[in-house]
């Protein structure tokens, strides 16, 4: 079973300072993110209308979110008409209760899972385990994380922090019936996983999935994937339960034209992903349940600035370009949603009452690379800055910022402060004590000039006499 992030102690800066010292992790992340980054840049550059597509994606999502109440009911009616059953879950606990009850009703003790962020967010595997139900991840990367009793560290590639020799060791250690002479050749590792999973697909009667999109008009759910393991889960078992965040809706079938271009190019850097599965309700002999998950989303929707985070299609492009993510790694964010999108999504979904969650809006240099690549134009820096104004601030920092604000609000006070600094310039030590050491531990301070610009100007710079 994979570990859970809920209730994780610490804060982002501390977690990250440990991670940056792990050279293997930094190497793995740099190699993986720069590869995907390059592929994405290539396939995006070949579309002359990329910015139009991006604007369309944003507009469709904004329209849907503004009319979410209407489209959700439309979705429920369409799914019900097509023989499915729709359940509404206010929060994680309610969603877990519903899914557990549905699995128990089938009498089964194990389920296979399609890669899904929503079920990770609510800790479904752990909730099922409490009731004696074993959930098996079938996405290769999720399987690696689950077997390694590890945390996911990336939205698209949850085992991105592992290299192939580490994966081989996990397989040898945890995978039953694995060949003893297993090498770290990627195709050998994939073959071992294939044999391991095939048995589960054929045996399991219940599957659990999420969805990338839901089409309100037709009641169709859509899953995009690379491996085909998802499709096995979506078609073989007798019962399919899909847990989907309410923001995954699209109004109409034709909207998929936009998103089926935006998502694969942004996420895996492919023109088209290998497997796109779509299903509407249930076919004869099979049961389909849709659990619509809120879990904080309507609160996010109520926030004028923060609501744009609900446009997210979980492509991971922002993670792959983020210089902070690349060095801190996904685990430092303490959430199934790491990276820039996690830094705005997690504090909104979970609130900022824990030290970790309150530190997330500050886990960014505001470099803006995330906003540039976001396929639905989420202005992540804007939301980060807004969340920072709502986050609790340390008392000493608050006092310092108040004083700085007071000095900066008046040019006479500023000039006096500058002259004082100029007089004390010889006394500044190379290494500063206390919180200021955060600067001088790795960087020299600039030399304080004897005269500020404004004093130079007054002294004669104004008339070119200085």
């Amino acid at each position: 079973m994979s570990a859970t992030f809920l209730g994780m102690p610490g804060n982002f800066p501390e977690n990250a300072s440990e991670a940056v010292q792990n050279s293997q992790l930094r190497y793995n992340l740099r190699k993986a993110t720069s590869t995907i980054r390059g592929k994405r840049a290539g396939v995006v550059a070949e579309l002359p209308d990329w910015q139009d597509l991006r604007a369309a994606g944003k507009a469709i999502k904004d329209h849907t979110l503004r009319n979410l109440d209407r489209y959700l009911v439309m979705m429920e009616e369409a799914v019900t008409r097509a023989g499915g059953t729709v359940h509404w879950a206010r929060d994680a606990a309610e969603a877990n209760r519903i899914v557990t009850g549905l699995v128990q009703a089938t009498g089964e003790r194990e389920v296979v899972k399609v890669k899904s962020m929503a079920t990770q967010e609510i800790g479904l595997n752990e909730a099922l385990a409490e009731h004696g139900i074993e959930a098996y991840e079938t996405d290769l990367a999720e399987l690696i994380v689950q077997l390694g009793d590890d945390f996911p560290s990336h939205i698209l590639v949850p085992a991105i922090h592992r290299n192939r020799s580490e994966i081989r060791e996990i397989f040898l250690d945890k995978m039953p019936k694995v060949p003893e002479n297993l090498t770290d050749d990627p195709s050998a590792l994939a073959e071992a996983a294939r044999l391991h999973l095939r048995e589960r697909f054929l045996r399991s009667k219940v599957a659990i999935s999420g969805a990338n999109f839901m089409v309100a008009e037709t009641g169709t759910l859509v899953v995009l994937e690379s491996e085909g393991n998802g499709r096995m889960c979506l078609t073989l078992p007798e019962t399919l339960i899909s847990v989907v965040g309410i923001e995954k809706l699209l109004p109409a079938w034709r909207d998929l034209e936009v998103f089926l271009q935006l998502l694969p190019r942004s996420s895996t850097g492919e023109r088209m992903n290998p497997y796109t599965s779509m299903w509407t309700g249930a076919v004869e002999g099979q049961a389909f349940h849709l659990v619509l998950l809120d879990n904080g989303r309507t609160d996010v929707l109520a926030d004028e600035v923060g609501r744009q985070a609900l446009r997210c299609i979980r492509c991971s492009a922002c993670l792959n370009v983020c210089p902070v993510y690349e060095r801190a790694g996904g685990h430092a964010y303490g959430s199934v949603y790491p990276g820039p999108i996690g830094a705005i999504l997690t504090p909104q979904l979970r609130g900022m009452s824990s030290e970790l969650d309150a530190s997330l809006p500050f886990a960014s240099s505001l470099c803006g690379a995330c906003y540039d690549v976001c396929p639905v134009a989420i202005d992540i820096p804007e939301v980060l800055v807004d969340l920072r104004s709502k986050a609790p601030h340390p008392a000493a920092e608050r006092a310092g910022m108040k004083v700085a604000g007071w000095i900066l609000n008046d040019h006479v006070r500023l000039a006096q402060a500058q002259r004082l600094a100029g007089r004390l310039r010889g006394l500044v030590p190379k290494r500063l004590p206390g919180p200021a050491s955060a600067w001088t531990d790795t960087r020299d301070l600039p030399e304080i000039p004897a005269e500020s610009f404004r004093d130079w100007w007054e002294r004669g710079g104004r008339d070119d006499r200085a």
Partner: protein, 243 residues
Amino acid sequence: MRVALFITCVNDTLFPGTGKAVVSLLRRLGCDVDFPAAQTCCGQMHVNTGYRQEGVRLARHFTEVFAGYDAVVSPSGSCAAMVREQYPKLAGPGSRGAAAIAAVAPKVYELSEFLVDVLKTDDVGAYFPHRVTYHPTCHSLRGLRLGDRPARLLRNVRGLELVPLSGEEECCGFGGTFAVKNPAVSAAMGADKTRNILDTGAEVICAADNSCLMHIGGTLSRQRTGVRTMHLAEILASTEEAQ
């Protein structure tokens, strides 16, 4: 042309040489430079660290000080981006503040924008016989979209050899208070940036923002590399006579 110089609090206090370079450069190009004495700070540090109220007060002060000028020039891509990109989000739509911001913000130029777009020149007659690499800085690159304006200006400097910086578009790790709130990641980003700078063999790392250069330069100096940081304005202000 009468131009107001927005020096920025960081340059005013720590890098007066950059301000003097802007003044000398603009005068050389025939501009009448004014320095409105009441100016202080754009408020970026406060707003971006979550102190919106203090930031809004400084933004209001800025719009009052610079109202009425035809052009406001600043040797900081980051502070110019603050005024142009972030100010409009600070005031309520339709408010008096919003109108004041809408009147001032479009007249605020980063130095290279002002030279290339307003003065219509990419050759300022400078002389600087050194090997230089250029870091575009995030807010200049992705906020103001300066594009190749700084590079065009540098390429026309006599004697200057401009060498490309690998990974130039990646943040240096400064990020304002990020540098002290997340020191480990900031330092790791700074270390990667300085490694790329050293790989170029340049004597000088140039940028349009002294705050980023303060972080890069502080790292280079701690590593005892001997590579100097220089603001774009200081290179463009250099002339053969001054060498």
